[in-house]
Amino acid sequence: MSIQPILEVEDFSKTFMLHEQGKELPSSHSVFLKAYPGRLTALIGPTGAGKSTVLKGIYRTYLPTSGRMMFTTKQGQLTDLATADEHQILELRKEEIGFVTQFLHTLPRQSTEDVVAMPLIKKGVSRDLALEKAREILGQLNLPERLWAVSPATFSGGEKQRVNLARGLLAQPRLLLLDEPTASLDPKTTDRVVELINNLKQTGTAMIAIFHDMDLVERLADDVVELAPPIGTENFFNSDTNEVATP
């Protein structure tokens, strides 16, 4: 028996309507992809192909213009993330779908370990246990211990990225979205991240990740989806790919 996808994105498109400028900005066009438990689907393609837009669409930070995103919940219920009730999306974000973005937005008065532990605390894990687990994963990601009790506000790009990853991986969601998770990490830390992502795969987490580094795609991806910029916008980005996204 073949494994069933946890998420099936069908013909996803997103066009931004900028009212003030009276402009339409196409971002993603007709994207198809699937994510499977315990597997990683890599999203590749040139800048401007709408890769991040797809992830934000799945997380519902962006409202899709068209298409379906069929997600199978823990209870086995099939839900279209494009149209699901907002309360259900909030619940799924808390319990089942995680997102590691390229940027870390935290309050300057929140310590790094608190930032990492927060998703667990919100899930109902005791504060002490959540902090213990946070410290464990921060250690695994080579973040120096002297930084754990201070806010990540003044951290370097690579340090912030590790905090972001620690938080996303620790929550152990059923579906994890990763937007260039290792973009500003050194080779040694990247190896650690590869190891942690593979460990998380073993637990059954499905992942969709954006990579620019083909070496990482080789090491981590089980499936690869290549996106091309929406028709009519290719020239904006001097892209030489004209391939249509294939599942």
Binding site: H19, E20, T61, I89, E91, K94, R109
Partner: protein, 278 residues
């Protein structure tokens, strides 16, 4: 958040003035006014509908005069709506808010709802001490034992970081931020499942704002209190609210997940509002 509904509001409208048959069709964002050109009445809110769940903070955002406070004032019985329904779900019971009698309304206000106003003068009794303000609210509920009341007041002031040494002082001696903390302590006195926050940090120093917002988030996490936060401040919305309603000229023009409203606003007005953030 759980899936327990705390509040259901349907088609709430509030008109100041005598009103006429053309009020609603001649006001709103498409007419750029909330003043009826036929009778001069003000349509402060029209056709407001939303749901609120346990542990959720719903943001209501809009400029001055958009009607965002009106909705909250009606739900807290400070005013009566012109039309519409609201149902409050509490402990397996349902209350049709706008058909309750005065005593039932008073009961909900005193026991089950909390309100924090922008202006502490509205939420606090300035003729009694900070501790007395909290005691007042506890007396209206079932607590009557003096030492128990005092103990609970100390606990609440401690929680909201008001120096308990100052609990016998009058609120007028306090700074704005401290008055706001006393107001929050008072609102929380009866552990209400529903809390209304009307521009609670507007006009306070940034450091004081941060502390008050942290306190509100902590309360949400620990007590699973459902809250409606009315504000014109995008930062407050971003920090507190999971979902956000955008209002203009008394109407809801957009509603969605807060990150979606801020990153992918659909309406031209919301796009302008978000673009003007500092």
């Amino acid at each position: 958040m759980s899936n327990e509904k705390v509040l259901e509001v349907r088609n709430l409208s509030k008109v100041y003035g005598k009103g006429c048959a053309k009020c609603f069709e001649s006001t709103g964002p498409e007419h750029n006014t909330n003043i009826c050109p036929h009778c001069g009445s003000i349509v402060a809110a029209h056709d407001i509908s939303f749901d609120l769940y346990k542990g959720e903070i719903l943001g209501i955002m809009g400029e001055s005069g958009s009607g965002k406070s009106t909705a909250v004032k009606n739900l807290f019985f400070d005013e009566m709506p012109t039309s519409g329904q609201a149902t409050f779900f509490d402990d397996g019971k349902q209350y049709d808010l706008f058909s309750l009698n005065a005593q039932q309304k008073r009961h909900l206000r005193n026991h089950r709802f909390g309100m924090v106003y922008q202006n502490p003068v509205l939420g606090l009794n300035f003729n009694v001490s900070a501790g007395g303000n909290i005691a007042e609210r506890l007396l209206m509920s079932n607590l009557t034992n003096y030492s128990e009341i005092r103990e609970r007041a100390i606990e609440l002031l401690h929680r909201t970081e008001v120096l308990t040494e100052r609990m016998d002082e009058m609120p007028k001696n306090f700074s704005g931020g401290m008055q706001q903390r006393v107001q929050i302590a008072k609102a929380l006195a009866t552990n209400p499942p529903l809390l209304f926050l009307d521009e609670v940090t507007t006009g306070l120093d940034l450091s004081v704002q941060a502390a008050i917002l942290d306190l509100i988030m902590e309360i949400q996490r620990e007590n699973k209190t459902a809250m409606i936060a009315v504000t014109h401040d995008l930062g407050v919305i971003r920090l507190l609210a999971g979902r956000t309603i955008v209002m203009k000229y008394g109407r809801i023009i957009e509603t969605g997940l807060t990150d979606q409203i801020l990153e992918d606003p659909q309406d031209a007005y919301t796009q302008r509002l978000v673009a003007s953030a500092l």
